[in-house]
Symmetry: C2
Subunit: 421 residues, 2 copies
């Protein structure tokens, strides 16, 4: 069984927006066991859109198109599909009721004679409408000679809601024998992609489940995917590999799927009743921003200090001037001093600090741009520091330094749980 995806919209061909819909649909089709063989993007041009529908219908069993379902005259997707199939469009009362309800949901009304809105209630003869729980443009679908063609609106939030609620069940019902893929992503910090690759070399060669690493900034995502008609069998295959990965990589695996490092840290701090304070120089507020992005973080995050100016490090954090104004302006004593001071200032169990050179200017011969010291202070375990050197833009150095600092805190919290109270 073959699928094709049609992305429709002149704004795509002009490069005004990135086509995230095609990626979303591709990845979800893969999950339910459908192979996508081709994707096509055309503008809102009737002639070329008609040709694209004809081409795709000649090749594929499933065609999913997004875009061009709006109320204005330049939206011609339904008209072109009707022409490609040699069918007409007819006014659909259910679609119209659904459009009117979507207006009411938004506190608006639509006149019974609003021709632009009524245009959106036109469904291909023999087809069916697909309700839009988010916006006003309904989708529609039609089955022809064992082929299924679906039209969805372009705005991603609308398309995704309709895809999950209606399209997935429709495809699964329409095409028998699809073997779905189940997957789990493990999030890994403190190891590079090549180190993960070495540690898991044999697993990466496995074909079912497949195991594949994807590198991000300062972290690696490991996708474990099993294909089976039997869900519990697939999940068992994944679990087995997941256990083996966790056995080999230990605390480097900090989370699953959408779990971030700051969420994992939040969980550890919450369950142990610990609290945190942060003093940032080189990361400039990014660590605090990440930590406070987690709902409920106000329970364990006490305060952050962005100590950018040397005098602030002295006056507000009480770092001795001789440490701040040392020839080596970025040094381990500064990092650990900042971590300890902010911890004491906030009355927190833990203090985390960063100092370094983010560039593009600054740095010295021995401590070039990209040099970062991370300090960690715990009321019983004392102070510790780490030196890391990153390369790249100011933005990248900030990102990597924040990620590394969070990883050190996470590792500290997991390494020796007895001592971390």
């Amino acid at each position: 069984m073959q699928a094709e995806i049609l992305s429709i919209g002149t704004e795509l061909l002009l490069g005004e927006i990135v086509d995230t819909n095609a990626q979303y649909i591709s990845s979800r089709l893969r999950d339910i066991g459908v192979n996508v063989y081709r994707r096509i993007t055309v503008g809102d041009n009737p002639e070329r859109l008609l040709a694209a529908f004809e081409d795709s219908l000649g090749r594929a069993d499933l065609v999913i198109a997004t875009g061009g379902l709006g109320p204005t005259d330049d939206d011609v997707t339904a008209q072109c599909l009707a022409k490609a199939l040699g069918r007409c469009l007819r006014f659909d009362q259910d679609a119209w009721d659904s459009i009117r309800q979507s207006y009411i949901r938004r506190g608006r009304t639509v006149d019974e004679n609003n021709q632009a809105a009524r245009k959106q209630a036109q469904v291909i003869d023999g087809g069916f409408f697909i309700p839009n729980p988010v916006g006003t443009a309904p989708g529609q679908g039609v089955k022809v000679d064992g082929k299924l063609v679906l039209l969805l609106p372009g705005p991603p939030s609308e398309m995704q809601a309709m895809f999950e609620n209606h399209v997935v069940p429709l495809i699964t019902k329409s095409f028998s024998g699809l073997t779905p893929i189940y997957c789990v992503n493990l999030n890994i910090a403190g190891l590079g992609e090549s180190q993960v690759g070495e540690a898991l070399a044999d697993l990466l060669r496995s074909s079912n489940p497949t195991v594949a690493p994807y590198a991000g900034s300062g972290q690696v995502r490991l996708r474990i995917a099993a294909q089976s008609a039997d869900k519990s069998r697939a999940l068992a295959m994944i679990s087995q590999v997941e256990r083996e990965v966790r056995r080999r990589l230990g605390h480097h695996v900090y989370g699953k799927d959408d779990e971030t490092l700051e969420m994992a840290i939040g969980k550890l701090l919450s369950t142990r009743g610990l609290s945190l304070a942060v003093a940032e120089s080189v990361t400039g507020g990014l660590i605090c921003h990440r930590i406070t992005g987690v709902p409920g973080s106000s329970r364990y995050f006490k305060m952050g200090m962005v100590a950018y100016h040397p005098e602030v490090k002295i006056a507000s954090l009480g770092i001795p001037p001789e440490v701040v104004y040392r020839e080596q302006a970025v040094n381990p004593e500064l990092a650990s001093g900042m971590a300890e001071s902010v911890r004491l200032l906030a009355g927190a169990t833990l203090g985390l600090a960063t100092t370094g050179f983010a560039g593009p200017d600054g740095g010295t011969e021995s401590e070039p741009v990209g040099t970062v010291y991370i300090g960690l202070s715990h009321k019983k375990a004392g102070n510790m520091t780490e030196r890391v050197v990153f390369s790249g833009s100011r933005h990248r150095i900030k990102l990597l330094a924040a990620q590394r600092a969070l990883y050190l805190l996470y590792r500290f919290l997991t390494e020796d749980s007895k001592n971390r109270r």
Copy 2:
């Protein structure tokens, strides 16, 4: 003249990555006056890739393909194009030298008999290679019957460098009569898309230059684009519209192209010798992160305080307990008090503060989740506050609150320049 873009890679069809290359190429082709009529995505499958090349060559004058130029056997782009053209591939000494140099640049060497690397030096008979200044895979191109076909590698940084250095000049030389588009983006804060639309209604109807607003989080980007063979004429057309937009929108236009609000603020603070301190509650470090993202910000940014816990607001910022523990926990006195305290603490000219409820929990009937107070304190002008209510996720509320706070600071700095020293 018609162009088509071919994106090649099984990882695209699996939805593992978003195809940003297609967007980049589309937008750059538009800029140089080339119309893209169709984009196609296929996997690294010889049969379907061959068919895609044949289709595109049958329709378009310019075909640009990305991906599938790697050293391994599953990279078959050059082979498929050769087959579609009925030509052979031949070893190209210049391409090989370029590959060897790229290895040397990365501190590696490549053996003269490395067959995988030598595969990348195969160029279509009658074609030419395109050097890759970033990675190892060279691109190539061929002219056939007035048509131009170009193959570029998939990694975006490599593709973009080659596109700018080689592809743009090649296209301009190969196709006469292209009318390029010149454009300027104006960045607008403090106004919604519909307000911008109302204020500029007549300009938005103009066809050359075109004027189009794009809404982002808490800001609007206005694209002014003029198409003309005469560059100075195009730029003059743009300038005229730009002046009119600035006249109507005043200080809402804070920057051009890549200039962010924090860069505009940085410029104003630097040139006037002012300094800034920030106290964040609801934005949790994001304002500091944005300000310190600007190179040179250490000259005017003194300190930031992320005062999350009520006791920190009392102990470190000296806010009276009765303000912090007031029934209305989020209130204007807290915002202005935080702004003033952090300004005094840092010895800065200006203090900026935020407090509010980011959710998902918290909030009261009168101050629901999304309520934000922004405080601004200036050593001569005194304290001022603003109340705003945002909706959406925790992440979105943080983003919008930070953007609004930066906009208020920017507006203060531009409104009455006499008083801001």
